[in-house]
């Protein structure tokens, strides 16, 4: 099966391992993620100002590109892109005035009415593939791995775009179980990592990620499964900046859920790109007997 795929800029620069592992894992499940031949940055953050329509243009343009391909569904991996595209689509679907203004501004493009469905890859795995089929594809179960699913914000908030229960999501844990791992619940699963504050207020990130990592460790987890390149970056960056022994922040790999899929499916390790994760990641995987 072919699915139209929107990568977003970060998966082409700072999170290549997310993309390579996802493409390989999905093709192992018989799904080709076909990158849109033409796309632009999604706009990164959904603009909350009621009258700030210009910042939806980038997202809407991408949805028009999907339509141009004769498709009515597009899949994203980056949780941020997912959120931005999905919310811009809701504007085009539900707000006739805003839709009119955006369509008339983009007079070089065909009119758009919100007809493209934006899906996150986790939804495709749950709803189109199914946990059983995924479990059936596992060659090396992730047994003895205690992992928390860390969602962050953008997969679940606001409710109108949530891929799962806003309060008690299970989609990441369900995937981890299908891969043969032990999914550990922890109270910080949907806490914010601090997001873009990393640019000008590192202390906020240190504080947030220390709390997240601390809580995960207390719950008995050894690693985090993530879907957002910004969460991954923040978790990785502050682990290295708070590594002083007095800080007491546990060092814990944050892995993209697709890397865990590729591992469990027994795919070529090159697609996982573990060298781009935190430096401790490989040692930990080796220790666990998952890589040699």
């Amino acid at each position: 099966m072919d699915l139209a795929y929107y990568p977003g800029c970060t998966l082409k620069t700072r999170a290549k391992n997310f993309e390579t592992s996802a493409l390989a894992a999905m093709s192992a499940l018989g799904i080709n993620l076909v990158e849109l031949p033409r796309w632009n940055c999604c706009g990164t953050v959904y603009s909350l100002a009621e009258d700030d329509l210009i910042h939806h243009v980038a997202a809407v343009r991408n949805l028009i590109r999907v339509k141009e391909q004769g498709k009515n569904k597009v899949v994203t991996l980056c949780a941020f892109c997912y959120n931005t595209l999905k919310r811009a689509n809701l504007v085009m679907k539900d707000s006739p005035d805003k839709r009119y203004a955006i369509n008339i501004f983009m007079d070089e493009e065909p009119d758009y009415y919100g007809e493209v469905e934006t899906a996150h890859l986790l939804q495709v795995l749950r709803d189109d593939v199914g946990w059983e089929k995924i479990a059936g594809r596992v060659k090396h179960p992730l047994k003895d791995l205690k992992i928390v699913g860390y969602y962050g914000c953008t997969l679940l908030r606001p409710q109108s775009v949530a891929i799962d229960s806003v309060e008690r999501p299970t989609i990441l844990q369900d995937l981890l179980k299908a891969l043969g791992g032990t999914a550990v619940d922890f109270p910080f699963a949907t806490e914010c990592c601090g997001a873009f504050q990393i640019v000008n207020n590192r202390d906020i990130i240190t504080e947030r990620t220390a709390a997240i990592l601390g809580s995960a460790a207390k719950s008995g987890a050894e690693a985090l499964a993530v879907s957002c390149p910004l969460c991954e970056y923040n978790l990785r960056q502050t682990q290295s900046s708070t590594k002083q022994p007095q800080s007491g922040v546990p060092v814990m790999p944050a892995l993209y859920f697709t890397q865990l899929m590729a591992l469990a499916f027994g795919l070529d390790l090159a697609v996982c790109g573990f060298e781009e994760n935190s430096p401790e990641t490989r040692a930990w995987l080796k220790n666990k007997g998952l890589i040699s």
Binding site: G8, A58, F105, M106
Partner: protein, 248 residues
Amino acid sequence: MTTNVTREKKIKMIPIFVMGKRYEVPETLTIMKAMEYAGFKFIRGCGCRGGICGACATVYRKAGDYKLYSGLACQTVVEPNMYLTQIPFYPANRAVFDFSKIKPEPEEIFKLYPEIFRCVACNSCTKVCPMDVEVMDMIAQLKRGDIAKAAEMSFSCIQCGLCASRCMGELPQYHIAQLARRIYGSLIALRAKHLQEAMQAIVSGRYEECLRTLMNTPDADLRKIYQEREMEPEMTGEDWTPKDKKCL
């Protein structure tokens, strides 16, 4: 007087508005020639007159149409009731850098032009480009780190600056694209092997003797040699070589 009358009969005159003032000009002229016909003298805003230097960017509107059009004055033929002005120069931030220290990585471009992330994909740059460069898509390629693709997409850019004049994110797209092409051309593109071999042949003195002989040949003999030289046939394969291979 009579000559004017005959000429007006032959060539239709049409009204155009240059910076708001009406002029009657022959309908067959380019914007540049029409402006000269109307009495303007170009000391800027004109260079090659051949559509490749980018000096003569012009924006115009047509009566009753909200669209902004653009063109090169030396290439675009006038239309009746065209409202136009030339934009010979548009101020745009150009980063200063030491190219010998530049690495073929997108971060180099992001560092020199952080405003690239102010692009909101409004596409105004693409719409105004007189060379039909997909400017917005080219910037999108750079944001995702594909310098080679951006260099290829901006290949026909003639640096007229109209993109920057329309950009709500205040990006200097044409300078950014030039940096991408420079990085691509010197640090990413594959080197042509035959060029390196030819350069080596020159440096090693391979042609020294041939050239010296020519330089020492009297004028009259040179003419004779020139006239009697073996010509490459008009239809021939690319592997054609002359019979005399002494100076190859």
